[in-house]
Assembly symmetry: C2
Homo-oligomer: 247 residues x 2
Amino acid sequence: MTALHHRLENLRILDRDAGDVLTRLLARVVERPAGTLLYTEGCPVESTRILLQGWAIRYRTTADGERQVLNFLLPGDSIGLYGALFERSSAGVELVTDARLAEFPCTRLMDVFRESARLGAALCWIGGMDERFLEQQIFRLGALNATERIAHLVLELQRRWMNAGASAAEATTLPLSQRLIGEALSITHVHVSRCCRRLSRRGLLETASDGITLLDPSALASMCGFDLKTPTIERLPKKAVSRLLGD
Amino acid sequence: MTALHHRLENLRILDRDAGDVLTRLLARVVERPAGTLLYTEGCPVESTRILLQGWAIRYRTTADGERQVLNFLLPGDSIGLYGALFERSSAGVELVTDARLAEFPCTRLMDVFRESARLGAALCWIGGMDERFLEQQIFRLGALNATERIAHLVLELQRRWMNAGASAAEATTLPLSQRLIGEALSITHVHVSRCCRRLSRRGLLETASDGITLLDPSALASMCGFDLKTPTIERLPKKAVSRLLGD
DNA sequence: CGCTTCCTTGATTTATGTCAACGTGCGTGG
DNA sequence: CCACGCACGTTGACATAAATCAAGGAAGCG
């Protein structure tokens, strides 16, 4: 089962029909190595992709040649969902790890809306989730200091990864280099290193060449105000589902 | 004609039918004074609103009681569009100016998708625009210094306002206090004042009690890398429109 | 083996925050 | 009408989080 199926199962929105439409939509699967550029900034968008496995980033390049990571893309996330609605990509997308992707022409999305209102709503819901993640990122950049930002980011990513179906064991180590964290949180890699060192001396996390490991999520959460308690049931409200069935 | 109609006219997506559905959707209009809280953070969302006139902000409150403005809402923007899809609001919404709003139960949105695929796509497109604005905000916070952030923000807001139908004259003065700019850009109001003073001494803008006036947009644009040249035609690509008609 | 990428640590600089004081306009209530 | 409080903007002196500059170590890789 793909991560997207996993997320939509939790949503409890898919019926037989919508599941079939989805399966057909995701028929064409490709594999790409880490570092692959899926879009560059400003390029025309021809295909929409769903990340089945692996991580990616959406980013924009700054005037001085640095990158600003806008958002992380995890299994089940869409890439270029709005390709049918906008002429050009507003950001670049690059694979952080090796990945498996489902690809389809972005115009297919319009068909989906007509073929299955349920699946359309589900995709719309995914778009809404994306907005929330962007808001979280704004909150981090605007309201937290360097150390808090790091804690907040890794907690969010861990949670998102588990919602996409990763096991608790798998999701303790995130495939992030310190440099990448810096590009996301607008902290120099030098300062990221300092903050991570301090956090690891306090036993809250651990960094290694293969990524960053969360050792004490609740301590991390309390230092940055991240809400670990409210469970993230990825599920549509009943009112939405019943409405989709046709009143 | 409402600002939303104006934007959707430009999109060239509405047909007779979709226009009728939209008119019915926006039937119930209310007026609210500046300072009104439309949502508080974490409250359940009952109704979706479309801002017809006036400005608002989406914000989150930080641990130390400050506000982080996530996004500005202008005429034609939606408030609580995802109310049907999420149990609770992820942010508060407050009116910056007196405003006129269309209100409808958020579950109506689902009907819209079934009644007019065109209007559904249009609303989805608005959601996509919102994502772009959030990305711009991340870019400002992550990649620009205080003065550049201010320039970049006012340019974006001016452009958005004109896309919503404001005249060039009207859109030169934005209804923003320096304090609000600070809350959006994560700069203290003291430092906002210093930056604005310097910009106004250089003749780039002017601040008054009623808002901020852009005097030299192209100079502002060149100092923060804002792209004024690419025209913002708010319009769907042909491929999307033809697909909506049913292949 | 040399090259690159990533991480680490120290010394110094800088953009921005903090604290404090003051001016101005505006609405409210005596 | 004035007096008062209040929100907003301005400016100065000082403090600080994070950037910058610099150097070096460790691991992967052709």
